[in-house]
Symmetry: C2
Subunit: 420 residues, 2 copies
């Protein structure tokens, strides 16, 4: 039998990849050659066009809203009930993988095709959704399309955001023909479900085919600049130094130790990472005068996240007295942890059991459009394993067998949610 889902994934995986001549991207995963299709790029327009064509072929009624979110409707038999929405995103990070987002979109289209094939009559309408700008790689914020959709930001503000070339989202969408006029009223949507790669190592390490997400972690970033005194490494005695990197090292170990302690003592899903650190002037023979740090803190329990953020900020300020440095701390706006719908979690679990597939409940450490939709609509997420836990990188990959298992569980979940 023809594997339509595989065909879609292979075909869509060519957009934003150099060289595009590669026919089956899956057979030639290349660590240097990932997928690059931020919102507004030609590659992004091409993958959107491809998906819309497939949606129309599946008999869906395709519309676009003002920020370019795409919706494809399969009518339901009961005009009085809310829809089941299902989908993900098609944009990518720079040099990312081909499954992050795209798998959720094409699995949703494939689920509709399977329901069509079996002559299934859905009571609720099904809306396949493609959200604009999930990755934040072009317009300076993640989850752009879903943020506007749920009303956390106005459509006008979203459209006024600029990419690094200084072009507004509005202009970019109009130029590529992706500025629509449709308005999706979430009051008419009862459920949302998103299939996604895990992007972490848990399912892969446990050899577990399906994860059911109970919570999406909140994210807070803490930026810090530590200023000491840049000096000659040979002529400045140890006792006369204000070494910004020594102070920073203490914070790196503090974040790692405290996050581990919270996991051990509270059984929490806390993660704490100093991912970014830049030293000035960065010469082997110069005592570091300034260090800039970017710290990432996540948890599914708001109090845990707040607590660790507070401790890290205090530890940063305490460096001033201990090392004679000065420390500036800034905390940009952050995402709160978002619990998903227990009802949808149960239905996904039941659907997997009906399909004969093992599952585990888990949390998502990565952000997803689901966390926005969950603020308005009963929402669930299905995870499939990422080989080696790799994501946002060219080697991002999920075994074909696991992709098919995900598609089956998603289809069964749609049957259960949309009613017969």
């Amino acid at each position: 039998m023809k594997n339509r889902l595989k065909e879609d994934i292979v075909a869509s995986g060519r957009f934003g990849r150099e060289p595009e001549r590669r026919v089956d991207a899956f057979d030639i995963l290349d660590p240097e050659n990932g997928v690059t299709r931020p919102t507004g790029t030609e590659a992004n327009a091409k993958v959107r066009a491809y998906a819309m064509e497939k949606m129309e072929e599946a008999g869906l009624d395709v519309r676009m809203d003002a920020v370019g979110n795409i919706f494809g409707r399969k009518k339901g038999s009961d005009p009085g009930v809310g829809a089941v929405m299902c989908g993900s995103h098609l944009d990518s990070v720079v040099n990312g993988g081909q499954l992050d987002g795209a798998l959720g979109v094409f699995s949703a289209i494939e689920a509709v095709r399977r329901l069509n094939d079996e002559g299934y009559t859905n009571r609720r309408p099904i809306e396949v959704a493609v959200f604009t700008g999930e990755e934040g790689s072009a317009f300076g914020m993640t989850l752009l399309g879903s943020t506007a959709l749920v009303g956390k930001m106005s459509y006008e503000d979203a459209l006024a955001r600029k990419n690094p070339e200084g072009r507004m989202l509005k202009e970019v969408l109009e130029n590529s023909g992706y500025a629509g006029e449709f308005v999706m009223d979430l009051k008419n949507v009862e459920y949302f479900v998103e299939l996604h790669i895990e992007q972490g190592p848990v399912l892969y390490n446990k050899k577990m085919p399906i994860g059911i997400v109970e919570n999406i972690a909140g994210i807070t970033w803490v930026y810090a600049t530590i200023r000491g005194e840049g000096n000659h490494a040979g002529t400045t005695p140890m006792k006369m130094r204000k070494d910004a990197l020594v102070a920073a090292a203490e914070i790196i170990l503090f974040v790692e130790k405290r996050a581990n302690e919270m996991v051990d003592k509270l059984g929490s899903a806390t993660v704490g990472t100093v991912g970014k650190l830049t030293v000035f002037p960065n010469g082997t023979n110069i005592v570091p005068g300034r260090v800039e740090l970017g710290i990432d803190i996540r948890d599914v329990v708001p109090a845990h996240m707040e607590s660790l953020k507070g401790e890290v900020s205090e530890a940063l300020k305490a460096l001033e007295e201990k090392y004679g440095v000065s420390v500036d701390v800034s905390v940009p706006p952050f995402h709160s942890p978002e619990p998903l719908s227990p009802e949808v979690v149960d239905i996904i679990e039941k659907s997997a059991a009906q399909t004969g597939v093992r599952t585990m409940r888990m949390n998502s450490g990565a952000g997803h459009d689901s966390q926005n939709i969950a603020s308005r609509v009963k929402t669930g997420m299905i995870f499939v394993p990422s080989v080696g836990g790799i994501s946002h990188a060219p080697m991002e990959w999920t075994e074909w067998e696991d992709i098919e298992t995900g598609a089956k569980v998603l289809t069964q979940t749609l049957r259960n949610l949309a009613g017969s």
Copy 2:
């Protein structure tokens, strides 16, 4: 009275500085506007020409050797005794200060002028010396000219070294007319003395006008690459990480702690610095996959330096088991600590006392041509205070009063060394 030394320093401070129109560089120290005259640059050729003119005006017989070291000879009264050499260098780091090196050259010329003025008859010949390429900012190694002079490297190898544009030192010297044929035989040199700015904060903090150097610290660099696993900061649980930056943080604190302990317990002059640290890929939301470190270790006691270098290398390798990372360590060729001549130290101390100037004995944490010359000739160094300990930066500065004190002590030292 006309201040010839001040005139020379102000005039030479214009070469390699933008804009050159500035008349009195000292009155307009500018943090953005330093001196840039690596070997082979037009600015370097200009400052050499200026110094040679002043040497000739002072009656010196000026010659150049194959690598461009300049020597200006004032004949002595006794043809059978070794010379007293005195000087420093005229090249600079990029955007450095105007005193590093230049002060030693122009103070030596001024000392000869003062001896001439008073009709002083020196028994030993005096050789004012300007060494090529001390800073290593053009030809990839420090102390280039003095290394060739003392025979640690052949003149041929020195001349074959290339600058970042791929041009050999030989070509650069020939094009600027600074390739000579004179051969300085160090067997005919009895003493060497170099006046230099301290480049550190010790004299300035202690308000001490003169430092007499007993040892020049050895320098060893340890380069390390720590490879962990670059992963998503949100989706990678704390217990599944191999964070290269956490491992690096432990080394930063180890170097700082052990160097301090050696100072405290051994009273040593040990310094240990992680001056360079680069994180890959360096994104706030990515667990660092790789960190590259540059570590600088210095001491005047060879055993101390070796001991700390060994401990740091072991600590780096121990990260492999503790953090599951891999660590590559490399140690490029290093400079051994060099003791200076106790006889010359005593003579400088006596000379300062005769001049009515307070002094302290100290070590040099920075490298100097003196450490090369000391391997062949009885050598001493005189330090003057660096304001705020600043060097290798545009704000490098020594008060005029301290410069004059240094010149007086140097002149008296030459009287004592060259005999009456």
